[in-house]
């Protein structure tokens, strides 16, 4: 199905927003001003956006430690996110969560997660909730090729099938679980989707570096899971991680020229620009205008984050309980 001009511009803007958010973090982290561990999503934007462009605020997602892209794609406020990563009191989580724990439950974003493999069971619970409500909403659990090896993910897949949860397991295979290659760590013939299939789910596969592949695949997956009674499904997207496991990772595991090659041939933003301009759906000028707009948004977010109130010692004690 042909996307409207507005939909194309919006999808591109979302991907570009994630890209520049991450590229800017990569620079700012090196100054030492940003504390803690940061895991960048750069390179995988087509997956988050290709999935979330189908979702409403009633649909839920559960994210990972590499969660900035999912958060932005699901509609988390860019200023609030930047402020959170800078540890500001005005951040989305008041500076108490940081990069690995950004959430906005009102937007259906049930949290990034610092524990690899912890998200899938939570997504099943959210998917059971969607099933109970019977309104065709779904819960999406994002997992990487690392999380696919956790027992929690296996338990979650079986539980989702048994309970017919309205849940979709989205596996983003970026080829590295931390510093280890998936060809070593994923035993099932380098393939993740076949595991989900073995648990009794319908599965799909797509190119996670191509927005249109992700978007069209997800249309089919969602059409299936939104039908009451169908239960869960899974999809594996082959994608690329442009940075290391964490910021500061020297990436000694990469092959010669690997990063240059994947940036050249597997960049979802370049592919998007090429395909929409060749098909004359958008012009180069249209896309340049979005780029400029995004750069300004990122500048603004960083400026706001730097100027924002810092948390105080008293803030340590609040928000543990609603009442105690």
């Amino acid at each position: 199905m042909q996307l409207s001009r507005e939909a194309l511009l919006r999808a591109y803007r979302q991907m570009k927003l994630i890209r520049e958010f991450e590229e800017r973090l990569h620079i700012d982290i090196q100054t030492g001003e940003i504390a803690g561990f940061t895991h960048l999503y750069c390179g995988q934007e087509a997956v988050a956006v290709g999935v979330c462009e189908h979702l409403s605020v009633e649909d839920k997602i559960v994210s990972t430690h590499r969660g900035h892209g999912h958060c932005l794609a699901k509609g988390c406020d860019v200023d609030g996110m930047m402020a959170e990563i800078w540890g500001s009191r005005e951040g989305l989580c008041k500076g108490k969560g940081g990069s690995m724990h950004i959430a906005d439950v009102d937007k259906g974003m049930l949290g990034a997660n610092g524990i690899v493999g912890a998200g899938a069971p939570i997504a099943v619970g959210a998917g059971i909730s969607c099933k109970i409500d019977g309104k065709g909403h779904v819960a999406i659990g994002f997992s990487g090729d690392g999380a696919c090896n956790q027992g929690t993910t296996f338990e979650a897949m079986n539980m989702a099938v048994v309970t017919k949860a309205a849940c979709i397991f989205v596996f983003e295979n970026n080829h590295y679980s931390e510093h280890t290659g998936f060809e070593y760590a994923v035993g099932t013939n380098k393939d993740i989707a076949s595991r989900a299939e073995a648990f009794g789910m319908k599965v799909w596969r797509g190119d996670g570096t191509d927005f249109f592949s992700v978007f069209e695949t997800m249309r089919e997956v969602l059409d299936y899971v939104r039908v009451p009674g169908n239960g869960p499904a899974a999809v594996e997207f082959d994608t690329e991680r442009f940075f290391g496991h964490f910021e500061g990772d020297p990436q000694r595991y990469r092959g010669p020229g690997e990063l240059d090659r994947i940036r050249e041939t597997r960049d979802c933003l370049k592919k998007f620009r090429q395909s929409v301009t060749e098909a004359k759906l958008l012009t180069g000028e249209d896309i340049d205008a979005v780029d400029a707009d995004v750069m300004e948004a990122i500048e603004t977010a960083v400026a706001k984050a730097k100027a924002a109130d810092r948390p105080t010692a008293e803030d340590v004690l609040t928000d543990v309980y609603i009442s105690y």
């Binding site: 839920k60 559960v62 959170e84 951040g91 989305l92 989580c93 008041k94 500076g95 108490k96 969560g97 724990h101 959430a103 906005d104 439950v105 009102d106 049930l110 949290g111 997660n113 610092g114 524990i115 912890a118 899938a120 069971p121 939570i122 997504a123 099943v124 619970g125 959210a126 998917g127 059971i128 909730s129 969607c130 099933k131 109970i132 819960a139 027992g151 929690t152 338990e155 979650a156 079986n158 539980m159 048994v162 309970t163 609040t318 928000d319 543990v320 309980y321 609603i322 009442s323 105690y324």
Partner: protein, 337 residues
């Protein structure tokens, strides 16, 4: 008031809350008990009979029989709670926190804080705990000492059927995650229970089950009854004991403990957890810090030894705090100087 068993108080409270609020859902292993069998769907109704009839009454959407997947059960409870439901999840044995602790500790307990206070997580995790059934090291443990130390959780340990009713209702209506610990040896105990379908006992309010001037005994759960037996025996000798049933270990009713010790000057904490970093050490430290001037004797804990729970009858009997051990501890603090 009605008279019913501890397990019946659990079940009837769940039924009443499920009737009141359609968002309350139950999940766990064998909570229906018989799915996929010739004798099913409900052949068991939970191995503790605390979910008998729920499936027939409320259906499979709200009474979710799960595979043996404790991490997924706890995680599903977390996802349900974040999605606006009020899950009451059953962990068949408290010992199984070992296979599901991440979802309890790193997820449920921390969502609200990590997310900057912008969410609620109204999940109840019920679990059967405690020794006395020769179930050995992996099916007999008290786990409150682990969970009480986790910020973000509330930990409830009811002793009587009446308290089960009031505390479980509070737990289900609470917007924070609550661990609800049910002692296996108490399931068959009968007691008076309120018929008021809104009867609630607030957390952090201990119950004074015996009143006296000479010694403060603090406990909860199965061992509370042992403490009462000791207090009754000593009362005949003219020795008065305050016996405090904590009801909840998090929040802790510090005021009840400190007020009592300020009068008695003597403290014995009777705790089913192993002794290191236990409820007993915690409360003894609290009293040493905040009621030091009142003390007439060093505070004393009565715990099992620093061993796993043993199997054989003789061994388990030797392991658990007994009426005799509690009495000896009370006499020890009475005879100090």
């Amino acid at each position: 008031m009605s008279k019913m068993m501890y397990r019946e108080a659990v079940l009837s409270t769940i039924v009443e809350e499920m009737e009141r609020d359609p968002n309350v859902v139950v999940l766990g292993e064998d909570v229906v008990g018989g799915m996929g069998t010739a004798g099913g769907p409900e052949a068991i109704g939970g191995i503790w009979s605390t979910s008998v009839g729920l499936f027939g009454k409320f259906g499979g959407d709200r009474v979710i029989d799960t595979p043996i997947s404790e991490s997924a059960i706890m995680g599903a409870a977390a996802g349900l709670a974040l999605s606006g439901k009020r899950p009451v999840a059953e962990l068949m044995f408290a010992d199984f926190i070992g296979v599901s602790l991440d979802q309890i500790w790193n997820q449920l307990a921390k969502f609200r804080y990590m997310f900057g206070g912008k969410t609620k997580c109204p999940a109840v995790i019920r679990m059967a705990y405690g020794a006395g059934y020769n179930a050995a090291a992996q099916h007999s443990q008290a786990v409150h000492q682990i969970l009480t130390g986790m910020p973000g959780l509330k930990v409830v340990m009811p002793t009587t059927p009446g308290d089960v009713k009031g505390l479980l209702r509070t737990a289900i209506r609470d917007d924070d995650p609550v661990i609800f610990l049910e002692h296996k040896a108490l399931y068959g105990v009968k007691g008076e229970v309120s018929d008021d379908k809104d009867f609630m006992i607030p957390f952090g309010h201990a119950r004074l089950s015996r009143a006296g001037q000479d010694v403060t005994i603090v406990s909860t759960g199965l061992l509370l009854g042992f403490c009462e037996a000791v207090a009754d025996k000593l009362a005949a000798e003219g020795i008065g004991c305050d016996v405090i049933d904590l009801r909840t270990t998090s929040p802790l009713d510090e005021e009840a403990i400190l007020d009592s010790v300020e009068v008695t000057g003597r403290l014995v904490v009777v705790d089913e957890a192993t002794p290191r970093c236990s409820l007993a050490t915690d409360i003894c430290a609290l009293v040493a810090e905040k009621a030091f001037a009142s003390l007439k004797a060093p505070p004393l804990g009565v715990n099992p030894p620093h061993t796993p729970v043993p199997f054989a009858r003789e061994l388990e009997t030797a392991y658990l705090p007994s009426i005799g051990k509690i009495e000896a501890a009370v006499r020890k603090v009475l005879s100090y100087r």
